[in-house]
Amino acid sequence: MFFSALFAYRGKHPELMPYVGVVVAGVQLFFLTLNNFVASPFKVVAAAGPGGVLHLATLADGRGLNPLLQYPEMVIHPPVLYSGYTGFTIPFAFALAALLGRYPGEKWIHLTRRWTMIAWCFQSAGILLGAHWAYAVLGWGGYWGWDPVENASLMPWLTGTAFLHSVMMQEKRGMMRVWNVWLVFTTFLLVIFGTFLTRSGVVSSVHAFAQSSIGRWFVGFLIIAIAVCLAAFFKNRDYLHSDNHLDSMLSRESSFLFNNLILLVACIAVLSGTLFPVLSEAIQGTKISVGPPFFNRVNIPIAMFLLFLTGVGPLLAWRKTSLESLRRNFGWPALGGLIVAVVAVALGLREFYVALCLLLSGFVVMTIGSEFFRGARVIAARTGANLISSVGQLTMRNTRRYGGYVIHFGMVLIFIGISGTAFNQDKQMEMSPGSVMSLGPYTLHLQNFDSDPQPNYSAERATIDVDRGGRSVMMLYPTRRFYPSNQESGTMVAISSTLREDLYVVYAGRSPDTNLPVIHAYLNPLVKWIWFGGVIVVMGTILALLPNRQAVLVISAVSESAAIPGTPQPARAIISARSQIQRDND
């Protein structure tokens, strides 16, 4: 990715690219040093030969891959997440280079916007793939455990998301330059910090397979990176003065400002929760735990506020929104959200946060829908095309804007999916062939157990006939595997997934008292919405990365006729230009 970025701009921007090359090379130098001299991946199978020279040892057969990782998703989750992590180096390198070289204007942002979106897309996809792997393999019925290493991947995603929003303020209004530079710096520093958390073992994590003693190298690199960022900032901070300031609290800019604030608070909440056990132990001498209940309790209200802003943002105009326009734009989406919430409550979904989440989701979806509808209606009226084709034209005219809305829609689906967690049910039973377990609308009949020997593991498999309303609807085969080479067991969960709910059945092993197989079944509502939402987020990002197909109409002449009497000539002309463009835009 680094080389692609450097190659793409070869021979261009001679004032900027040398600095970019140096920053990228500096980062690479650090990681190559680690790989070659500190934690060589080949060293683990090396053996000392005569004279102490290390040679690669010849092994007849290894212990094989960790059983938990023997799953197709594990082939793509690490490289995808890795691409996300490393991809954030590119905007960091450009931001630092622009600051060091005092590169004029917002050009560096235009140059790196696509790279940032690519990195963000990989990071989002990597996080979701990891969550799906945890769900399908680990067998605890969930997909996100707030493990420190999971948190490490979420933090740069949060600041990266904040950057992708606030960067628009810099592009359009020349605002928030200091903020944006520091958001890029913070995102990169959190990437390094996340790698430190994963590899150092400073906090206990279920991802213990990645621990090593190279943590201090990352601390050193972090200190150097922070020092370089601070030095560059203080030396050239006058270069980062804003052209404009916020005109009104009711404006697109202020919604981005609050969006950034909320994303950053979420990041601080995750960071503090992750590190608090270490802090508490250092100060008090006693270790405490900060587990999922803490993160859920703290982050759910933050997420709700963020969802609200996702809906509000597109309703506000740049610079200033009149109350009249706000009322006009808010009416239908607010009503839509309210109807969704009322229906949800009437259907028995009476958890406060679930009802709120559904209300806000309805609001956001209506907002997005109205944005597409209003734009498409104008195109349809002008071109005579039907509404669906007009939506396509509209989207392709401004892929970044409408791709962004598609991403928001995907995020809404993810939020709805997560809200289903409030209604999870589960049951665990020792079962013998012929026995029955009921869970929600399903009845599970255990038919038999059989073996399924494979070259690298042996497996015991349960055959379960699932009934719904007295009718057999499916067969499930949860499996328990045993890997002789590393003497470890693993589960293969049987999942029947629908948009409404997942029936998730785990063969948990045998009871030590009765030696009967133990089946643990979960009924998890709406989980499929999360994966579906993830796919839409990725597709939306790809859409936003596409170049616009047609230029947006911008007037070149200004009509004086629309000017407001009594205002000075230049102001009248400006108002006239704006109102003309507003009319054209509407």
Partner: protein
């Protein structure tokens, strides 16, 4: 003994061995109260997971901990006493949330304080910007200083700026 029987025997032996190696979390999943209390406790094997959700392969701690929880739950003690029993035995780290008293309560305040601080900074910044803009407009409204470009040139440049600004604003 045929090869097939030998294989079946060997397989059964392996499965039996595997089953013996796998500690189970059975009882705490049976009652709602057990599940509720189990969610307030951590597995102490270092996997950083909730006790009743520990999926750590061959975990040596979750099985005994769950058994202990079931025994205490069976005695019908109040929740706080059950949790206190665990804290006495395993230390504060067994609780899945930081306590809301003493130094550890800071963990609960950090997100709120960060939000309040961020909000205050945003509000102060917006006020400063608006005051500065008002002052700038007041200065601009005064009589033209000598050497100021003629009105038409000023108007044209402002128009041009407005066009560029509108162009940027209507792009997204």
């Amino acid at each position: 003994m045929t090869n097939r029987r030998r294989f079946a025997f060997a397989f059964s032996a392996i499965v039996a061995l595997a089953s013996a190696l796998v500690p189970l979390r059975v009882d705490a999943q049976k009652t709602d109260r057990g599940k509720q209390l189990g969610a307030k406790l951590m597995c102490m094997c270092g996997c950083n997971q909730i006790l009743t959700q520990c999926n750590h392969i061959d975990c040596p701690r979750s099985g005994p901990e769950i058994k202990e929880l079931d025994q205490i739950v069976a005695r019908n003690e109040p929740d706080n006493l059950v949790l206190q029993d665990f804290v006495q035995k395993y230390g504060q780290a067994v609780l899945s949330e930081p306590p809301s008293t003493g130094f550890n309560s800071i963990a609960w305040y950090i997100p709120g304080v960060a939000f309040a601080l961020g909000l205050s900074i945003v509000v102060v910044l917006i006020r400063l910007w608006r005051q500065r803009d008002v002052a700038r407009l007041a200065t601009a409204a005064g009589p033209p200083a000598p050497g100021t470009p003629p009105v038409s040139a000023l108007r044209n440049s402002q128009l041009e700026r407005a066009r560029r600004q509108a162009d940027r604003e209507t792009d997204d």
